[in-house]
Symmetry: C2
Subunit: 363 residues, 2 copies
């Protein structure tokens, strides 16, 4: 099987020129050579976040960075508001529980986006809430949240807006500074077109004021250690050198295209993908479609997990299935990063063919 078409919402395909960098001999990180690259990367990634603030780089999965966003700005017992509109919203709540933060959960039906008015109401009802945690793109349901409107609501309060943009950054529009997103989290293996292993966090001035007082225990994820190292364009702990060097190359590609073009491309490819899914007679899932990933309900009589498995193991096309109670019920196709129309066309053709085969077999 020669085909290896990756259309899952992360990891996404890594461009040839980035793969080339990943295969190069390694060099030491406590050197001017590495520091120069890291300084350059740390500066240029701000253009992807659309922020003027510091963006921290962690060696870890995206979840490590969600945790960093929760534990560097809070004290034991602080109240946080968590939007649970899917698997990743739920994770914010789990982290809050692990660290003794008191969470209020706004539970949203899978497939829906949170109405900003619900957040406004919750903040009015409980002025002690210190943070509002929400996904940009809730990857598990292919929903994009209205961060701009939520930011306007949260900015009027003392609470911080924490945005999990792990899958969405660089695909769904997010204007970190303009929209008052205080803490924005992302990961390397989505629209940044790298293998997984790096995570990123931008920190607003409003959030920074909270850092000194935070009493939750931390070491590896303690931003104060990162601040100290950043003064010398360094990391406090040995970084994933090859991924940082590869990020430099990926940023070349992204910033050459320009963020406005990137947003427009992903948005338009999302529209196209959903159009093609509808042409197959499938019902699009998500009442707030994202530029990152789209989802469709698996037709009646077909097992979703089998559909994904056959496409992947027999035909070399990797889509994602559903998570949580959507397991077996939806398929998800990403349209971010290096994914282009021809990849979507190939994926949709194989999806059509496989649905037909499974339908015949089911009869």
């Amino acid at each position: 099987m020669k085909r290896n078409l990756l259309l899952a919402p992360g990891p996404t395909p890594v461009p040839e020129e980035v793969l080339h960098v990943l295969g190069q001999p390694i060099f030491h990180h406590r050197t001017p050579q590495y520091r120069k690259i890291f300084a350059n990367v740390s500066q240029r990634i701000k253009d992807v976040f659309l922020t003027q603030n510091t963006v921290y780089t962690f060696t870890g999965s995206g979840t490590s960075c969600m945790e960093a966003a929760m534990i560097n700005f809070h004290n034991l017992g602080d109240e946080v508001l968590v939007v649970d509109a899917g698997k990743f919203g739920e994770r914010f709540g789990d982290i809050a529980d692990a660290y003794g933060l008191k969470k209020t959960v706004i539970k949203i039906e899978y497939g829906d986006a949170v109405p900003p008015a619900m957040i406004e109401e919750a903040l009015k009802k409980n002025p002690k809430i210190k943070a509002v945690c929400v996904e940009l793109c809730e990857t598990s349901t292919a929903v994009v949240h209205d961060i701009k409107a939520i930011g306007a609501v949260v900015a009027k309060t003392d609470a911080l807006l924490v945005v999990d943009a792990i899958s969405g950054l660089g695909a769904d529009r997010l204007e970190t500074d303009n929209w008052n997103a205080d803490l924005v989290i992302s990961g390397s293996q989505k629209a940044l077109m790298l293998p997984p292993g790096l995570a990123f966090l931008s920190v607003s001035e409003k959030a920074r004021k909270r850092m000194a007082d935070s009493n939750l225990p931390k070491f590896y994820l303690d931003l104060k250690l990162y601040d100290k190292a950043l003064k010398a364009d360094d990391s406090p702990f040995t970084p994933a050198i090859t991924l940082v060097v590869a990020l430099d190359k990926a940023l070349d590609i992204i910033l050459k295209e320009g963020m406005e073009n990137v947003f427009a491309r992903c948005s338009s490819l999302g529209d196209y993908t959903r159009g093609e899914l509808k042409k197959l007679g499938l019902q699009v899932f998500s009442n707030a479609p994202s530029a990152t990933v789209s989802a469709a309900l698996v037709p009646e009589g077909i097992e979703g997990e089998k559909l994904v498995k056959v496409m992947r193991d027999e035909k070399g096309v990797t889509l994602a299935g559903g998570q949580g109670h959507l397991k077996g019920k939806i398929v998800r196709i990403a349209h971010m990063g290096a994914i282009r129309k021809e990849h979507i066309d190939e994926g949709i053709a194989v999806l059509k063919e496989t649905i037909e085969e499974l339908t015949v077999n089911a009869k």
Copy 2:
């Protein structure tokens, strides 16, 4: 400058066949293809640790794993004994402080190994000590600790023996199970010959009994989440896929040679390296020489930092300098992983040449 000879004690050179794997297109991790590789890697890395127990894989720097070893087995206020014989011993103490553990520090002169009798005495004096934290190879001083003797002492008590083998594993002999090392920590960028980004932790049965009760807050480093995922040969959070696949290749190389041969090679290359350093008229630093890395005092009248810089930036040979109060006073040369006699010879020749040049210039 064509030469790129990496002789620092991590990151170490990555073999060609491993670099080739790192440059391959990525695939998804929630697949049978990835799970098979991860299962294989998780099983075979036990042979490097010389353990029958589970070895956990983290996406992170080695320090993340030191933290995991501290926070999964303790409760707030627990007492720990930290051997501080260099920069990395000190780090155990910093992590203990961050999490509200009470530390007793055995401070050892840089260059010396801790006498096991000192640990025995400390444990007798304070039977409440729950863990003894020590480096296998203290990378900053090129000292190897007598883990076998320390293990025999700690095994007689209720304390756990926590061994930071980040640099030493797969170079300095460590028989995890035979020597009663309860928690052994390592990283990818040393004798495992990979880029940095993965860290590993082996957990003994004695340690495992402590896990359920541990009340220190954690999420990303919570081993209970890893245990659950491991049942399906999976990770709880998106792993650094390319590094795991590359580890599979690195383990092929290591286990084909065999651990006994690997230990003998590193030990003998260490002897050779120190012999060559002495031939240059340099004084070897470390009263307990390691098979991982060797150190020598920089000759009087030469600035150690300049020596390292000239060798690296003008001649393409990366040694390590000193850390902490040894800054500028020693140079360190690794002899683990893919480093062979011809690399040491080249490094020593360039060291000799550069010392001569700097001596002439100083006159």
